[in-house]
Symmetry: C2
Subunit: 255 residues, 2 copies
C-alpha cells in the first residue's frame, strides 16, 4: 500500500484532477473538490497549472467551467500504439471486417485499466452497432472480457471479479461462479460469446490476443445486431475471429 513512496505529490493530485475533469467535464472547481476530496484552493491551483500546460481550457462564462483540450487526445491516442498492437492488428481486422461485414473492435487489456476499446472498423450494413473508442468494457459481461479472463491466472481472475458484478440486462451473468464456469467453454472453443449480456440488442463473439507467453494483451471482437445473431452465426464468426486473433498474435511475436 505504501506504493513506491517518493513520488511527487503535486503531480499525483494534479493528475487526479485532470482525470476528474475528463469524467465530469464541463465542470467547476467545487464539483471537482467534492468528487476528489482535495481542498478547493488546491484544485484551483491544479486547474490553472493544467491550463498553462494547455491540457485544459476554462470556458469562461460567469461560472468558470473546465474542459479538456485537444492535447489530451493527441497524447492519449498514442497509448494504443503500445506494443504496436494497432499496427499489427489493422490489416487482419480489415480482412475480418470484409469477411463478416460486421463491426470489429480491437481492445487492449492493461491490468488496472481493464479492457479499453482501442480501435474499431465498422460494418457497412445499414444497421450497425458500435462502442466508443476509449470506452472501458466490463470483464464479466462482454465477450472480449471473458475471452481475456479465460487466459489470465486464477488469482487475477479472482481480483477482477471481486466485488459486485454490475447487471446490465437479464442476460448478464449474475455471479462470479457462472462467469468462471463459462471460461472453461471459452478455453475449449477459443472464443467467448455474448448474447445481449451487456448492451441491449447486441450480440458478439470475442477472441483473445495472446503474446508469445500466452498472456492476453487484449481481444478482438465482432459485434452484431441481435437480428443477425444466432447460435450458428456465433460459431461461424467465432471461427473467423479466432483465426484472425491468431494471425495478429503471430504478427506481434515476430515484431
Amino acid at each position: 500500500m505504501t506504493s513506491s513512496g517518493h513520488a511527487m505529490r503535486a503531480v499525483i493530485t494534479t493528475l487526479r484532477v485532470l482525470e476528474t475533469v475528463a469524467e465530469l467535464q464541463p465542470v467547476g472547481v467545487s464539483a471537482i473538490a467534492r468528487a476528489t476530496g482535495i481542498p478547493k484552493s488546491s484544485v484551483h491551483r491544479c486547474l490553472v497549472t493544467l491550463r498553462e500546460a494547455d491540457w485544459l481550457t476554462s470556458s469562461s462564462t460567469d461560472r468558470t467551467q473546465w474542459v479538456l483540450t485537444g492535447r489530451a487526445l493527441s497524447v492519449g491516442i498514442h497509448a494504443s500504439v503500445e506494443g504496436g498492437l494497432r499496427e499489427a492488428a489493422l490489416p487482419t481486422m480489415h480482412r475480418l471486417r470484409d469477411a463478416t461485414h460486421e463491426t470489429i473492435h480491437l481492445l487492449s487489456y492493461s491490468g488496472d485499466q481493464g479492457l479499453v476499446v482501442v480501435d474499431r472498423l465498422d460494418s457497412d450494413e445499414p444497421v450497425r452497432t458500435w462502442v466508443h473508442l476509449g470506452a472501458r468494457v466490463p470483464m464479466h459481461a462482454s465477450c472480449s472480457g471473458r475471452a481475456v479472463l479465460a487466459h489470465l491466472p486464477d488469482d487475477e481472475v479472482d481480483r477482477l471479479l471481486s466485488g459486485e458484478l454490475e447487471r446490465f440486462s437479464e442476460n448478464t451473468p449474475a455471479d462470479k461462479q457462472s462467469v468462471v464456469e463459462d471460461l472453461v467453454r471459452v478455453r475449449e472453443s477459443g472464443y467467448a460469446t455474448n448474447d445481449r449480456a451487456w448492451r441491449p440488442g447486441v450480440g458478439a463473439v470475442g477472441a483473445p490476443l495472446l503474446d508469445k507467453d500466452g498472456r492476453p494483451l487484449g481481444a478482438l471482437a465482432v459485434s452484431v445486431p441481435i437480428q443477425r445473431y444466432d447460435e450458428a452465426r456465433a460459431v461461424e464468426l467465432g471461427a473467423l475471429a479466432v483465426d484472425a486473433a491468431r494471425r495478429i498474435g503471430a504478427n506481434l511475436r515476430s515484431a
Copy 2:
C-alpha cells in the same frame, strides 16, 4: 512570456515528460532528457511518478523503456466529446462513407494543437488509405488544414503559417503566398483539395465544420488512393463533403 506565473513547476515539467513519452515511446530516460533538456534525474523522478499514477508503465527489460498505459487513452478520448463533435458527426459520416465508399476522417481543430484526427470510418475498397487516429495533420499541406484556414481570421492564418512550411512532396505548397491564394478558391467552392501534397499516393477533399458563428471547429475529409482520384472525382466528393459538413454543423448548432 512570463506565462501566468504561479503554476506548479513540477507538474509542468512532468507533463512535458509525459508528452515526450507519447511521441517517442517506447523510450528511455536519457532520450527524454535529451529531447527536453530536463536533467536526467529529474526526468527519472517524473517517470516514476507517472508510473505510480498509472499513466506509464516501464517495460522492464534490461534497458528500461517507458510506454503509455490505457489511462492516457481513456482520458484523452473524452477530449473529443468536447462539444459533442463526434456524436454529432458520426451518423452523417456513415452516410458519407456509404455514398463514397472511401475513407472518411473527422478532424478537430484546437488552436494551439492544430488539427487532430478524432475519428475515422474506412473504405470498404481493397485499396484504402488512412491516417492514424490522434495524428496531427499539417495545416498547409492537407486539405482539412486548408479548409480550416479558409475560415480563420487573417492574423491566426499568419501565425499558423509562420515559420518553415515542411515540404512532404513536390506537390506541397512551397510558400505561404500560394497557400493563401488557394484559400480564396476554398472559400468559393466550400471545400479544399489535396493531390498528393502531403502523403504520397493520396488525394483528398476536405470541408470545414463551422459553428454558429462561422468559426471552424474542425474538418471532414474524404481520402482516396490516387488511382481513384481525378478532378471530376474531386468535384463529386467535394459536393458530398460540403453537404455532410453542413449537416453536422447544423447538428452542433441545435445541441
